[in-house]
């Protein structure tokens, strides 16, 4: 009785927050709704007697990954989605009908198969940290080690992708600073060649923007 109640409560919370993730136009509200889904799923894991997975769900997903996502949203200053006119009106009707048929098929399959019957209470030690650790370090040691290699690759990939290449010397391809501007005009770099650099320095001195160089430029 209590387990049904808990399932309905947290299942409804997960479903509502999941719909909110898709329905929100502001990415920050979507992220907060997604945290709600993660917490509701952690509670469902607790009702399934998996406390270790529930704790890891809250720590890794709601703690680490969502902090990363919210940080990126704040960093990029993402604007809300603009509303666009809906095309394909008849396709929406067909999609809703086909989706309803798919949901009906799924529920029929789940109730007609044997998964509907109750299978007895789960053993208390299956989801414990000790049993998870024993399985992870004996039978599934190879996937665990491969996972560490995957993490290393993701580390290198993330650093490579997010690195600021603007200040580095151009070894291959054009540097970002020498690319044409958005308006079509080329950006003129003051120190692009020695000649333009000296001309720019003379202009700066004439315009009073900089102090005169100590005779170094005229020497060449």
């Amino acid at each position: 009785m209590w387990s049904i109640l808990l399932f309905v409560l947290f299942g409804a919370l997960a479903l509502g927050c999941a719909v909110a993730v898709v329905a929100q136009r502001n990415p920050l509200y979507s992220a907060i709704s997604l945290i709600g889904v993660f917490v509701a799923l952690a509670a469902l894991y607790l009702t399934l007697a998996a406390p270790f997975i529930a704790a890891v769900q809250v720590i890794v997903y709601a703690g680490a990954i969502m902090v990363l996502v919210v940080f990126v949203i704040m960093l990029l200053n993402v604007e809300e989605e603009v509303r666009r006119p809906v095309r394909l009106h008849r396709m929406i009707v067909a999609g809703v009908l086909l989706g309803a048929a798919l949901v009906a098929e799924t529920f029929f399959m789940l109730t007609a198969s044997g998964t509907g019957r109750v299978m007895g209470p789960p053993a208390t030690d299956v989801g414990s940290t000790a049993s998870v650790g024993t399985g992870l370090f004996t039978e599934y040691l190879l996937p665990f080690e491969v996972t560490s290699v995957l993490i290393l690759m993701a580390l290198v990939g993330a650093i490579t992708l997010a690195r600021q290449t603007r200040g580095l010397p151009a070894t291959g391809g054009a540097p970002a600073g020498a690319a044409p501007a958005a308006g079509g005009a080329d950006i003129i770099q003051p120190g692009f060649t020695a000649e333009t650099g000296r001309a720019f320095a003379r202009y700066q001195v004439e315009a009073g923007e900089a102090a005169a160089p100590a005779g170094e430029e005229e020497g060449h």
Partner: protein, 100 residues
């Protein structure tokens, strides 16, 4: 005790919501979050089967899926930052070609 099919049905609906979000969303970060939603729906299936068959293997796979999701978050958000730096926008409809 809740029947197993309840958990499977909830997981299927959550997965479908994630698929719909990936299809209809235009913001890259929101598409990314819908992918996380799909991963979590699969995790719920794993834990439900693990609990009902008294076998810890499903929970070990959930552990590995979470690791993959963390790696995916790092690389995916790096790609999103790179796209934003090049285009000043996260609209995936505008990023329809593989060049600047």
């Amino acid at each position: 005790m809740v029947p197993l099919s309840f958990y499977l049905a909830l997981s299927a609906v959550l997965f479908t919501i994630g698929v719909v979000g990936v299809i209809i969303k235009r913001n890259a970060i929101q598409m990314f979050m819908c992918i996380e939603l799909m991963l979590n729906a699969v995790n719920l299936t794993f834990v439900a089967f693990s609990s009902y068959f008294n076998d810890v293997t499903g929970q070990l796979f959930v552990f590995i899926v979470m690791t993959v999701a963390a790696a995916e978050a790092a690389v995916g958000l790096g790609i999103i930052i790179a796209i934003f730096r090049n285009r000043e926008s996260l609209d995936v409809d505008e990023a329809s070609v593989l060049r600047l």
